[in-house]
Symmetry: C2
Subunit: 123 residues, 2 copies
C-alpha cells in the first residue's frame, strides 16, 4: 500500500493535464472561440474526429462547464454549442502552450535530430 504518495497525487496539475491531454477537447474549445457551432458543423471542421469522440468530448466539456449546449426544438433538431467564460480562460491558458510551441518547437526538433543522429556516441 503506497497510496497517499506526497508528491503528485494531490497536485491539481494532474487534473488539468488529464483534461487538456484530450487533443479533441482542446481543438473543439479553440474552434468554439470563434463563435457557436452546431454538432455536424463541428464535426465537419475538425473532420478527423468521429461522432463518438466529438459527442464524448462535447459532453465532457459541457459537464466541466467549459462549453454550453443549447437545443432548438425545430423539426430537424438543431443544437448549438458555445464556449463559456470559464472555457475562455482555459482556452486562453492553453494558448500559452501554443505560443511556447511556436517559440521553442524548432529547438526541440533540432535536439531530436541530433539525438537521433547518434547521441549515444557523441554524448
Amino acid at each position: 500500500m503506497i497510496i497517499g504518495d506526497p508528491y503528485s497525487r494531490d497536485c491539481p496539475t494532474r487534473k488539468v493535464l488529464d483534461r487538456i491531454a484530450d487533443k479533441w477537447a482542446v481543438l473543439v474549445l479553440g474552434l468554439l472561440m470563434g463563435g457557436p457551432m452546431r454538432f455536424n458543423q463541428l464535426r465537419r471542421t475538425v473532420d478527423g474526429i468521429s461522432q463518438k469522440m466529438l459527442s464524448q468530448t462535447l459532453k465532457s466539456l459541457e459537464r466541466d462547464g467549459l462549453v454550453s449546449r443549447k437545443a432548438f426544438a425545430t423539426v430537424p433538431v438543431t443544437v448549438e454549442y458555445a464556449i463559456t467564460p470559464l472555457g475562455q480562460t482555459l482556452a486562453d491558458t492553453v494558448d500559452a502552450l501554443r505560443v511556447w510551441a511556436e517559440t521553442h518547437m524548432e529547438a526541440v526538433t533540432a535536439h531530436q535530430q541530433r539525438y537521433d543522429a547518434g547521441a549515444a556516441s557523441g554524448a
Copy 2:
C-alpha cells in the same frame, strides 16, 4: 483521403499537447526543477511510475532536449538527470496550467456536480 485538413493538423499546439499529455513527463520535469536526480531516486519519488515508464519518459525528455543525462563511470554506475534551460521554459509554461487549475478547478467541480445531479432536466 481527407489528409491535409486545414484546421488542426498543422497547428503546433497539437505537438506540445502530445508532449504534456504525458503526465509522467510533466511530473518528472517538475521534480527536476528542484535539482538533478538519479534514476532510482526519481523512481522512488514519483513512485507510481514503473521503470519502463520512467526510462521511456526520461529518454523522450532527453531526446527533446528538455532534460540532460550525465553518467558517472563509478563502480556502481551513477546517472544524474537535470532539467535544461529549454525544459525550464516549458515547465514554467505548464505551471500556468497549474495556476489555472488552482483558480478554476472548484468551479469546474461545481459544474460537474450540477451536471451529474440532472442537467438534462434542469438545463
